[in-house]
Symmetry: C2
């Protein structure tokens, strides 16, 4: 009875609120506050004038609403895109200035769409399973729906009921019907496309007082809550805010998440949407910002484009709303400063005000060592970011052991990436795509994304028998995830993460433990990488280092293919690698040094006399010149059980202005694997001192006490590992 | 008699001045002024404290003066280098503070060198014809001599006569004798090495009151004026200040030129050294600064390293002295602001003071279209820089028709390079060198510099029969130079430079006319490149475009070498190019578009059905991984007389933040060569309008009147060319 009453009450509140417009971007009171702020806070002033003048140049013009024809980057694509941005901005201008010329611009365009949309069929350039009407893919139609919904809400009160009906029936309904009937399975996905689609339908629902739309948006077409926005909030994030498709996609999905949540919150504050799942939307944003390079570029794992930074429009919109609902902190302010613009709403007002009073001089986001679980319950692996160093000397090692991450995920179990001094050192290639450039297959993901960039060999993890993880099957990959064994990260001299994967290959188990050690004798942290593979049968194990930089030296005599080059292999990404040189590895220590900008990097590897080295470069099998030509250094071992021990150093300095180079050589003299059964014992001679790591392989308990006998003494330690440098136990 | 009297008088003045110390960097009065400025002008304060603390950390330490052993980048090399900088800085500190601890540091080091130097033979790593003692090459010993001479002068008055003698005889004399006896031919060269050597000997001469040294420095070892500093001032610069080795080397030579001139001027103002040759040193500095990219990087033609900018120490030293003797202007101030440091002398004081009062907001040097002649008399070709656009949208086309430029010159007659928006678009590869990195052949110029980077095929000019200009012989190249036929550059819609070369090949004459046109319908200037080759016999003509960017499209179906790659050729640089694809050119128009950062570039070429295209990439035959992997697009024609007509467009915009791309296609629809005998007539359809260029091939008189009959009308024009766009005569 109580429940029914509550529902009735909510219904009444809802309908009351529904009848108030505008409400999506901001309500009347907020608009008044923004207007006051425009004359007070420079960044708001600037953003306001920028947007206003971008709208003003279209006033009193007959704006084209062309029949859809072109792929991304082409005229009709870009026109529909600039039209929805224009309508949104003009709607804001009307809401802020009250000048009907802005409302008229939106209305005229919407009326044209109301005439166009009902007759649209699948776009002629549509090739995907989820075709669009106005654009080549439905996702772009969803973008259109979000922005035009917001625009409609802004001018709602200017429109006559008849005009509203014309637009609702002509412009919106065909799109909503298309999404919720024709593309129902797509709309009901737990995936970034569907986030945009639900946000679009939901915003249009709020803007047009259509409860049916809002309900479908929140709970899926069947309104059973198995899909829709709430299910997306539940399913796409881990409890600590990791977004299943990775930070590059958080960037993209964060706008519909925040903008629709903001509209819901304005309409129905009792939902407490921003508090939902222990503030999952706040965690999502902060988590994505922690996963950026010093220049704001999101880490490039999964299908990422490296040029995308946190100054993207999506992040501006989300950040400003976050500032309103969660408050501003130094991290958000730093990002907002770099964005150098705000949205014209209550959040933008708060950010602009805070920036006008800001006295901080930080140049970088407050990065820290941080770890995220993956999966809705947080039990599907995760990603650890081990950091050391300050400001522009920050070193960040990303150890990725997440689940697959759906179609944009890569076959990269136990992969590591390294950023240092703001540069990518050990890279993930990202995606192969020239977004919105018509000449490059209409700006779509190019075929090389799947065939090359997603394959295991272009990741810094092991490929077995020249076959990618899960045999390159997303469907298989989606079923499994690695398991973290133990770890400890934070602001201390020994950081470690140990992970196991025994699903990527049917008969090979992989164990990788990454140590980031701050030795007293080295300016930069040292990375020790113990990568053990176990199998009952013999295999070929390839461990690549997708490095960026200029090769300085290899301590091995190699055969170089100087006049004729062939590919490293024929399938699973190998066909995209030119084989530039190969060698029998040096025994027992192979060393490889490269220069990236002003810093040197060395990989010192324990190699036996059956290990082979390859120096390769991406760019083979690329008739359309879609690929970059980046180097890849590969260690190859053959056998059943093998342990790769690699020490990665960041060292020295090259200054091209003073023409001085210092510390250009590795400090590692020796690597020895003394034991590899129940315990692993590694002895590294570095700086002519001994660095010893002992790790227990069958007990991950942090309280377990161990007594391990080395060749000259017994070491007592607690928990699964100990690190001793120069006779001092670091942990 | 008058002459003798004058000489005697000068001698007296000289000896008077010689007995005053310090005098090289600044005299006592100037030092007092600098001391006053240190507490007033922020940049001077900052530079002072930076230098002082860099010296302070070495006080009371036993500083190593090791026996020379290592190549560049190695310990002994870097130690001797940091020692001379330290002595110079500590000398300055003594001069400014009067604190004897600074003088003592210099003295102690010089006494160590006085013990070391007499016993030195050729450096163990010396491989060049001009070996050093302290360093692998004599040039570095000359650097040492310049800085230690300045340091000695600073502490001259602190030293006892006996200490002075110890240092003069032990530290300096062995080096001076080595230069002026053992390496006499090198010392007497007209070349940047010898500039350093003469400056070093001259500064030591002034510092130690040794007239013999000063005379040798000014007039060569034979004191006949055929070599030495004055001959270098005469011989290395053209009358308008173009430095024979190009701007990258101006950067390097400008320090000894200015620093020695400053010491001479302080000692003997009557020499009016800074007014010499109509202020040749001012022209040299300003000329080099005009030859930089927006980031301050010197144009990379000849053996240049692209990371070298005008913030280099050498330019700081020269600029500050220039500010003192010639006055400060906005250009110098802009550069000084980016240098963000000043030298601790009267010039640095003036610059720091000017900057403290500076209200300008310019972000870039005042670049303009500018032309330099080459050769001491200005009659050995030259270089034209055609510019358009403002600030970060500047477009600069460098048309190079200089003489060879000695050993660091490239075989690049009639080469063009293009910079746009601060990016290199059509590049000169520069040199192959990792300066001061020991692993890379001791930081020397790598063999690929001569074998690859200097060869014609990696320049944007024609290679005949796969053989470089002058058959790759510097000696031959040094004898000749191209001749400018006509030209007009400046701030107008038609800029043009036409040049002929008939010496690079014995039986081929090359005529290249470059037009930079500002059409009313295009935001960016259009470049029309008419390149005619004439020969009595058949040849193969290759015209490459060494572009930087990502290939967007080629309008020709090509064969791509996807799984097996071979080199384009076997010699003269061709062996360093991987052949990625080749094609029979489209007839009659071949179009090629690439993306560089946020801008598109297209090359539209008139091609007949015998023309072939090659898509190649540098990096073959590179066993030591010394080369970058940059793309080269090549047009190949065969025959006797051939005309290459290329239209180079800078167009459109790609914005990765808003994900919008505009204008990504070429606007050229057609190119037609209507006439190519006494007149050349080109008709280009662009923006669906007609652009017509008519050029007279046998009369370069600017006043000559022409009446030329096209297929539909007669055009009357004056001077060797006319440009008509859309029925309007632009010139």
């Amino acid at each position: 009875m109580k429940k029914i009453l509550l529902s009735v009450l909510l219904l009444i509140i809802n309908s009351l609120l529904y009848s108030q417009h505008p409400v999506c971007v901001m309500n009347k009171n907020e608009a008044d506050a923004v207007n006051t702020g425009i004359v007070k806070y420079p960044l708001l002033t600037e953003s306001y004038h920028e947007i206003r003048s971008s709208v003003d140049e279209w006033l009193n013009k007959d704006i084209d609403v062309p029949f859809p024809k072109d792929p991304a980057g082409g005229y009709t694509h870009d026109k529909h895109k600039s039209n929805y941005i224009l309508m949104y901005n003009s709607g804001l201008m009307y809401q802020l200035t009250g000048d009907v010329k802005y409302a008229k611009l939106v209305k005229d365009l919407l009326i044209k769409y109301a005439a166009l949309n009902p007759g649209l069929k699948n776009h002629p350039q549509a090739t995907s399973a989820y075709p669009g009407h106005l654009f080549w893919q439905a996702l772009n139609d969803a973008n259109w729906l979000v922005y035009t919904g917001l625009a409609f809400d802004c001018i709602h009160n200017y429109l006559t009921p008849a005009e509203r009906k014309t637009i609702e029936d002509g412009a919106f309904k065909p799109e909503v019907d298309f999404f919720t009937h024709d593309l129902k399975s797509w709309f009901n996905l737990i995936h970034n496309h569907a986030v945009w689609a639900c946000a679009g339908v939901g915003i249009v629902g709020i803007a047009t007082d259509n409860k049916d739309y809002v309900d479908m948006a929140l709970k899926g077409t069947e309104k059973d809550g198995k899909s829709g926005f709430m299910a997306q909030l539940n399913g796409l994030f881990s409890p600590d805010g990791y977004y299943n498709e990775g930070p590059y996609y958080t960037r993209y999905a964060i706008l519909p998440f925040y903008v629709f949540a903001n509209a819901l919150n304005n309409t129905n504050p009792a939902m407490h949407i921003f508090q939902y799942r222990d503030r999952i939307l706040q965690k999502a944003l902060n988590g994505a910002l922690q996963q950026t390079n010093l220049n704001g570029a999101f880490y490039s794992y999964n299908d990422a484009l490296k040029e995308k930074t946190f100054v993207s429009n999506e992040v501006v919109e989300a950040l400003d709303i976050a500032a309103k609902v969660y408050g501003v902190d130094n991290g958000l302010l730093l990002v907002a400063k770099q964005q150098a613009r705000v949205t014209l709403n209550a959040g933008g007002l708060i950010v602009a005000e805070a920036l006008s009073k800001d006295k901080t001089t930080d140049l970088y986001y407050p990065y820290k060592s941080i770890e995220f679980t993956d999966g809705a319950k947080g039990d599907e692996g995760g990603v650890s970011i081990l950091r050391a160093g300050k400001n522009d000397h920050l070193s960040s090692l990303i150890y990725k052991y997440t689940s697959q991450g759906m179609a944009h995920g890569h076959f990269d179990k136990l992969n590591i990436n390294l950023y240092d001094n703001g540069n990518e050192i050990l890279q993930d290639y990202g995606a192969v795509r020239y977004i919105n450039i018509e000449q490059k297959w209409g700006g779509r993901y190019l075929p090389e994304t799947k065939a090359f960039a997603q394959q295991t060999i272009v990741h810094n993890t092991i490929t077995v028998d020249e076959t990618s993880h899960f045999n390159g099957s997303e469907q298989e990959g989606d079923k499994y995830h690695p398991d973290k064994l133990f770890g400890s990260i934070g602001d201390n001299p020994v950081q470690v993460v140990s992970v196991k994967d025994d699903k990527a290959y049917s008969d090979v188990s992989m164990y990788r433990t990454i140590y980031m050690l701050q030795l007293p004798d080295n300016a930069k942290p040292l990375i020790v990488d113990l990568f053990k593979v176990k199998s009952a049968t013999n295999h070929q194990y390839d461990l690549p280092f997708n490095y960026l930089g200029t090769l300085m030296s290899v301590n091995t005599k190699y055969k170089s293919y100087t006049t004729n080059q062939t590919t490293l292999g024929t399938k699973n990404g190998y066909q995209y690698l030119w084989k530039e040189a190969e060698a029998k590895a040096a025994y027992p220590l192979s060393q490889f040094t490269f220069l990236n900008n002003s810093s040197f990097y060395s990989v010192s590897s324990l190699t036996d006399d059956s290990t082979r080295l390859f120096l390769t470069r991406t760019g083979a099998n690329d008739p359309n010149f879609n690929l970059r030509h980046d180097p890849v250094y590969i260690l190859r071992k053959k056998g059943d059980n093998k342990t790769f021990v690699n020490v990665i150093e960041m060292h020295g300095n090259f200054n091209s202005v003073t023409e001085m180079s210092t510390g250009s050589y590795s400090s590692v003299q020796q690597i020895d694997l003394a034991e590899s059964t129940d315990y692993t014992e590694i002895n590294i001679t570095i700086n002519h001192k001994k660095l010893q790591i002992v790790q227990c392989n069958n007990n991950n308990e942090i309280s377990a006490k161990h007594s391990y006998r080395t060749n000259d003494k017994t070491i007592e330690f607690t928990g699964p590992y100990t690190v001793v440098y120069d006779n001092t136990m670091m942990k």
